[in-house]
């Protein structure tokens, strides 16, 4: 039946005018008495029978649940329904800053969290070590059990890690590195340097990924050594990480090279324009710094691709300094240049890498308000939105809605704006700008005293 389903889906996808039904499928259709029908009707009629058969003949999956691990019961009682209601409000963003206070009183009153809240809190703890420090005292046996079920939360299990860094399992080593990097950054680098020559390529890349969470200057000399690694994957990860480090020497070197290629050209009675020269050849130092001579990064050709790679590795803030303009004007200058698409695409890469708020705002505003939709239709800015602050997001969304009603939603992925703007899909513009935006954002914490929290237990 599965083959038959595949067959009719294939025909429906390609179209009967290009692909006919196979002989086997026709035989089955005949058996089902689907005769004297056009090919299109045969596909539709077969599908309608097949999908119903699939539903009526649904097969359950066999489980052996004898090994099902059941955590011991919590010694503490779950807090009462009023407290759960408050906690839900906190989790929904209404009183976000009251969460530590809630957890404090929970522990003080010898109560534990309702289980359904645990996943949300564990998820938040991944990006907030402080929250995790407080939360782990309140998750109870059930929380510890739950933690073991989801690998995405493995970094929170760092407390259970073995002492020996070299002997630990692969995943555990990542957790040990992350934990050590958090508590004693210099020790983490020493640990890595000791075992680095013996590590596999994949493990090296994974370690570098862990280090990406704390891209600080102290990593530089270690990463510079990684630029000479035999394997390209390791060199590539090291370049990315070095570029992320604020004012790293790699970023500086790249910027110095860029200054030779891009200049401001003054023009009488006209706006200043950028004069851009593409890099003719690559020296070894540039290749070491991560510029791939062969990669076709941009449709304009290999040389243009090299320029794009260089721009993508430079800290976006450097441009403001170099051109002495705010980000919005730099975007405008880039757009007017002979390599507008290339530069803007590279700036999106650089901005995503450095998570630069000012540049994010400038690029999103440009994307949303640009009247030349055709020229920029392939410019994907959605990756900039994931980490953007609410302030920037609001400013961009408001601007987008004012200028081009509806169009902004096509550019910003829906999951983002629906989370941030509670009713943006429903309300008319005047209401949105005057009320929802002012009152609707999370983060404004009303005064909620200790009594307000303590009482419900």
């Amino acid at each position: 039946m599965k083959d038959m389903e595949k067959e009719i889906v294939r025909v429906a996808l390609v179209g009967t005018q290009r692909a006919g039904l196979s002989v086997d499928a026709k035989v089955i259709a005949d058996e089902w008495e689907l005769k004297d029908l056009s090919d299109e009707e045969t596909v539709l009629a077969t599908a309608s029978i097949l999908f119903r058969m699939k539903k009526t003949a649904f097969q359950t999956v066999d489980f052996r649940i004898s090994n099902n691990e059941i955590p011991p019961k919590n010694s503490k009682k779950v807090c009462n329904t009023t407290a759960i209601k408050l906690l839900n409000m906190i989790m929904d963003g209404a009183f976000e800053n009251a969460l530590p206070e809630f957890l404090f009183h929970l522990e003080k009153n010898n109560k534990c969290l309702p289980p359904e809240i645990l996943p949300g809190l564990l998820e938040r703890s991944l990006s907030s070590p402080h929250l995790w420090e407080q939360l782990k005292k309140n998750i109870g046996e059930r929380g510890k059990w739950l933690l073991r079920q989801n690998d995405d939360w493995s970094s929170l299990r760092a407390d259970e890690l073995p002492e020996d860094w070299e002997e630990a399992l692969h995943d555990q080593r990542l957790m040990i590195l992350e934990k050590t990097r958090r508590n004693d950054p210099a020790k983490a680098i020493r640990m890595l340097e000791e075992t680095w020559p013996r590590e596999s390529v994949n493990q090296k890349v994974r370690f570098l990924k862990v280090l990406e969470k704390t891209p600080t200057k102290d990593l530089e000399s270690f990463l510079e050594q990684c630029l000479d690694d035999r394997r390209k994957e390791v060199r590539k990860s090291a370049v990315r990480l070095l570029a992320k480090i604020s004012n790293s020497s790699l970023s500086e070197r790249m910027f110095e090279r860029m200054k030779d290629l891009i200049h401001i050209k003054s023009r009488t009675n006209k706006k200043e324009k950028l004069e851009i020269r593409l890099p003719d050849k690559l020296d070894d130092a540039m290749i070491r710094d991560g510029i791939d001579p062969r990669v076709q990064w941009y449709k304009g050709g290999v040389k243009a691709s090299r320029l794009g790679q260089m721009v993508a590795l430079i800290q976006p803030a450097k441009w403001l300094e170099y051109l002495n303009l705010p980000a919005g004007d730099v975007v405008d200058m880039f757009v007017r240049s002979d390599w507008g698409e290339l530069l803007i695409q590279a700036m999106v890469e650089a901005t995503a890498l450095h998570n630069d708020n000012e540049w994010t705002k400038a690029l999103l505003l440009f994307r949303i308000t640009s009247s030349d939709r055709k020229r920029w239709q392939n410019l994907n800015v959605s990756r900039l939105i994931d980490d953007v602050s609410d302030d920037v997001f609001n400013a961009v969304a408001i601007e987008g809605m004012k200028k081009q009603k509806g169009y902004w939603k096509k550019i910003l992925p829906s999951h983002n704006y629906s989370n941030r703007v509670p009713a943006c899909g429903k309300m008319s513009l005047p209401y949105l700008s005057s009320k929802t935006f002012r009152n609707g954002w999370p983060g404004k914490i009303p005064d909620i005293g200790t009594d307000g929290i303590t009482e419900p237990y």
């Binding site: 179209g15 539903k55 003949a57 649904f58 996943p119 949300g120 998820e123 079920q149």
Partner: protein, 456 residues
């Protein structure tokens, strides 16, 4: 007034209204609060010169307020009821209701009860009305037949061209009869959907609009798209052979196509009284300025399921608030169908108890067999309610399963964090679950773990 603070707060549409409502539950905020046992009314001091007139029908409770709030019930309604329940002895009992309150209560009663006191019609008038009704219906059938023919042509065109060619950049629809060449991207769905509306096939129109949400979304979209199109095909064939269908199945078919039974007609029918538990609820995306809320009820004594569908047009709010996990005393009246599920509720009032479990199916094989039986009777059934008891949530790979006592499991519809919520609630132990069975996956909407209901 037998409600607890918690019950009243559960009626608030959001935490803010609940909080502000509590702030208004003070004598300083109100003037002339009175009750006659059936209704409660009062005037709330506003920041301006006018006072808001707030009424509560204690039979529901149902609310009305003259404030401009778009939330329902508003903070004034919540505040008034909170104040009245906590100061029941201090509320003045009025001999009669003010005219405005009386009108409102009358209107509610007449809406809820069977139409009475209608002027007797003469036999000629009845005959005329019947003839007019029949003519209207026949005219509508003619329109529907034309629309169904259009849809069949459209379906065949899509299959002939192939889904892959139907996209925003330009479909290759070349049917001479329908001139599809202009219909590309979103227009493709919108135009045919509008033609279906013109042909009085609103049910089909909605289904076609929803196809736009499937097209090119997810890896398995071609399969889901074909399934939906084949459903439309089956509807068209069913319509062509409607005379050969049983009366109930024909009614079901007509309902799906868009021939609705009016609420007034339903109110004339016998309802099923029970204590109806709100076992699941979810709101679907906004399509054409209307958010749809599906609320599933399960009879505490009868074990019957009922689905109340409500629409929020232009953000006006839903007509009633059904808090998840609460129980309502009332009568369910089903829309005519061979497998009655969609319903309205009459004379509902919230009771003190909360949902702490249900008599569900302990064997997944039985539950699936039951679903297969229903599908055999009604081939157009989509998501079917399923109440399970004593199932254990188990994560296998990235998919969550409910596993019954016999070790048989069914996969759950992926819902990101909700999967882990269910895992946390179960923690290796058995739980009760309510949800919709899609035919291949269980879409969880409510869980009872350790005697406590949690909405998913």
């Amino acid at each position: 007034m037998h409600w607890s603070t918690e019950q009243i707060l559960a009626l608030a549409p959001d935490p803010n209204t609940s909080k502000r409502g509590q702030g208004l539950a003070s004598s300083k905020k109100w003037i002339a609060i009175e009750t006659d046992g059936r209704a409660l009314w009062g005037m709330c001091k506003s920041s301006g010169t006018a006072h808001y007139r707030t009424f509560v029908d204690l039979k529901g409770p149902a609310f009305k307020c003259s404030c401009p709030s778009r939330k329902f019930p508003c903070k004034h309604s919540i505040g008034l009821l909170l104040y009245a329940t906590s100061n029941a002895d201090g509320i003045k009992v009025a001999g009669e209701r003010p005219e405005e309150v009386d009108d409102w209560i009358d209107k509610r009663d007449s809406k809820q009860s069977k139409p009475e006191n209608q002027k007797e019609k003469t036999p000629e008038e009845i005959q005329k009305a019947e003839a007019r009704k029949l003519k209207n219906f026949n005219d509508r059938l003619q329109l529907m037949e034309n629309g169904i023919r259009d849809m069949e042509n459209w379906l065949e065109d899509i299959i002939r061209t192939g889904f892959a060619a139907v996209d925003g950049s330009g479909a290759e629809m070349t049917s001479s009869a329908l001139k599809f060449k202009k219909d590309t991207g979103p227009e493709l769905w919108r135009n045919i959907s509008m033609r279906m509306v013109d042909s009085k096939l609103s049910g089909i129109a909605r289904k076609i609009r929803e196809l736009a949400l499937i097209h090119n979304v997810g890896a398995d979209w071609p399969s889901r798209m074909l399934e939906e199109l084949s459903d439309l095909y089956l509807l068209s064939k069913g319509f062509g052979k409607r005379e050969r269908l049983s009366e109930e199945l024909r009614k079901e078919l007509m309902r799906i196509l868009g021939v609705n039974t009016s609420k007034d007609e339903l109110l004339n029918q016998q309802g099923i009284p029970d204590e109806w538990m709100v076992v699941g609820q979810f709101q679907s995306n906004n399509i054409d300025n209307a958010a749809v809320r599906r609320t599933w009820f399960m009879g505490r004594n009868t074990g019957k399921f009922a689905l109340v569908l409500e629409y929020d047009y232009n953000n006006q709010g839903f007509p009633f608030h059904w808090p998840k996990g609460r129980i309502f005393n009332g009568e369910i009246i089903y829309y005519p169908s061979i497998t009655p599920l969609r319903a309205i509720m009459r004379e509902q009032s919230i009771i003190k108890d909360v949902v702490d479990g249900w008599k569900g199916c302990a064997s997944l094989s039985d539950a699936l067999r039951n679903y297969a039986d229903v599908l055999a009777v009604n081939p157009w059934i989509k998501d079917y309610p399923m109440a399970l008891t004593s199932v254990i949530p188990i994560m296998k790979g990235r998919t969550l399963y409910f596993v019954d006592k016999d070790g048989q499991g069914v996969p759950l519809l992926k819902k990101e964090l909700s999967d882990w919520k269910i895992m946390a609630l179960g923690a290796g132990n058995s739980i009760d679950a309510f949800g919709e069975w899609t035919g291949t996956e269980f879409n969880p909407l409510g869980i009872v773990a350790e005697g406590r209901y949690v909405g998913i």
